[in-house]
């Protein structure tokens, strides 16, 4: 009985830790969405031909902010997956923007834009760390609820592990250098 009790405690602790790490991702993602208006304001001064990209980023940012208002306790897999999907798309568009900056020498050499790129790079590193932390926490919870007798205890109390954070399919495909070196 003592073993079962300690296993139960371990499952609950790890579930709570996973929720905490999930919130940790949100904290970092918020920093990124807070950064976006400043970057867009700088970019719009110079990037007259990227209007559609800038608008797309603005719209995605709005959707991301709206998705955060949906209650998410970490056990609703589809909500968590939707959030990941939106954030991934936003990350793709921001990355495209950063690459497009290279085509605008004036913007590229602007010191404020350089600092903004560095801050953006740092925020992305924080997001990456938060996701890795979340995955480590999820793995720990999965181990606890899949190994006997954890699987029985977890099914009795209704604890499921949320999905791992995974990159989307576009980021998995290898880069074709020919597309760029034309």
């Amino acid at each position: 009985m003592a073993i079962l009790y300690f296993w139960y405690v371990a499952i609950i602790s790890r579930r709570n830790a996973t929720q905490e790490t999930n919130s940790g991702i949100d904290v970092q993602l918020k920093k990124r969405t807070d950064l976006i208006p400043n970057i867009l304001r700088l970019a719009s001064k110079f990037m007259s031909h990227e209007k559609s990209l800038l608008e797309e980023i603005t719209q995605l940012r709005t959707k991301v902010l709206e998705s955060r208002e949906v209650t998410n306790d970490g056990t609703n897999d589809s909500t968590v997956e939707d959030k990941f999907s939106l954030e991934n798309r936003l990350h793709e568009k921001l990355s495209s923007l950063m690459v497009s900056v290279e085509n605008y020498p004036e913007l590229k050499s602007d010191s404020t834009m350089l600092e903004a790129q560095r801050v953006y790079a740092d925020v992305e590193e924080h997001i990456s760390a938060a996701r890795r932390n979340y995955n480590a926490s999820t793995k720990s919870l999965l181990n606890a609820i899949q190994i006997f007798p954890g699987n029985i205890i977890a099914s009795l109390i209704g604890v499921n592990a949320p999905p791992f954070f995974e990159v989307n399919e576009i980021e998995r495909t290898p880069v074709n250098a020919d597309d760029y070196l034309k």
Partner: protein, 347 residues
């Protein structure tokens, strides 16, 4: 004599760049010092030759009386002998005195070589000051978990400077404990202390797996072990931290690879390197143990102008100073400092 092999052009990106005039000046300064060193070397070589002559001259004349004395002791008093407990301390003291006297010219030349050559080679890499027998501040070292417990400490070849807002201090350390019959080496190698212009988010320690007891200062600490994703890194190292999230920010997959490459770079110099590092407050300490000694002078019988030795020393200095570039800590500094000029919250 021309100095070949020394390359003042291929410096690390983070070191100050040298103009052609500065390179000429360094070559001129180094040649002048080497000329003095060569004269000093020849003087010490002459002393060694004189020592050898003296030993040849008096060894023969000392051996016969000693044999006669021993035979006399054996004949007239069997309880006394030069080879027993009575004579051994005498021979040990005599042997030690002769050894010290014999090594003196070599040690003087070695010391002179380092004091002349290292400051010049260091200046080519940045604004560094050198002390042959200096050391990192002991109190600072003792505040790090990876600094092993020891009873005896020797240090040498201390230098201090800065590269792109990051302070760098280095010394070679030899830490020992007293064993049953002799001293046991706990750590021998390089200690590199970096002072960053920002504070690390958390206290993180990277130590070797199955760490020896001397390095296991983690009991009674709040540091928790974290599992990282790089399997090669996990095979070699154990990461401990107060905050897993902040530690993962610092120990990104790229950083883990760079740490392994840094350890491997020390191995390529043939020294069997083992890396340990710790990040705390605004400081990072790297302890790299290896077999051997950095910054060796050439033998007394080899010219002070020996290019191979100069190039080796320059490579060793570059390896140490390039730790910042190798780990891309300058990029980390740039990102951290960018927050000061780019306000994240302004709309």
């Amino acid at each position: 004599m021309k100095l070949k092999g020394l390359d003042f052009t291929q410096k690390s990106k983070s070191a100050s760049s040298l103009s052609p005039e500065a390179r000429k000046e360094f070559n001129r300064e180094l040649e002048s010092e080497l000329a003095d060193l060569e004269a000093f070397r020849l003087e010490k070589l002459e002393v060694v030759n004189q020592q050898n002559e003296l030993i040849k001259k008096y060894a023969k004349s000392a051996v016969v009386p000693l044999i006669v004395l021993e035979l006399g002791l054996q004949i007239f008093s069997s309880s006394y002998s030069l080879l027993s407990g009575h004579g051994v301390p005498f021979f040990i003291c005599a042997g030690a005195a002769i050894f010290i006297w014999k090594m003196k010219p070599y040690n003087l030349y070695h010391q002179q070589y380092k004091e002349k050559v290292l400051p010049i080679l260091l200046r080519s890499l940045g604004d560094f000051s050198y002390q042959i027998d200096g050391s990192l501040d002991v109190a600072t070292l003792e505040s790090f978990k990876i600094y092993p417990k020891h009873q005896h400490r020797k240090s040498e070849d201390y230098f201090k400077g800065a590269i792109q807002d990051i302070g760098l201090e280095f010394c070679e350390l030899h830490l020992e404990n007293s064993g049953d019959k002799s001293r046991v080496t706990v750590f021998q190698g390089a200690a590199i202390l970096l002072e960053m212009p920002f504070t690390f988010l958390t206290h993180t320690v990277v130590s070797k797996n199955k760490e020896r007891k001397a390095f296991s200062n983690f009991r009674n600490s709040n540091l928790q072990t974290i599992e990282l994703e790089d399997l090669d890194f996990e095979e070699k190292f154990t990461a401990r931290t107060l905050d897993p999230l902040a530690a993962r920010y610092l120990l990104s997959p790229a950083m883990m690879k760079r740490l392994m490459e840094l350890e491997e770079k020390y191995n390529t110099l043939g020294f069997g390197a083992q890396l340990r590092c710790e990040f705390k407050d605004n400081k990072a300490l790297f302890l790299i143990s290896y077999i051997g000694n950095f910054f060796e002078s050439p033998k007394l019988t080899v010219s002070a102008y020996d290019n191979d030795n100069l190039v080796l020393i320059q490579d060793q200095l570059r390896l140490i100073v390039s730790v910042i570039e190798q780990l891309k800590l300058d990029y980390l500094v740039a990102r951290k400092l960018a927050y000061k000029t780019f306000d994240l919250t302004s709309e």
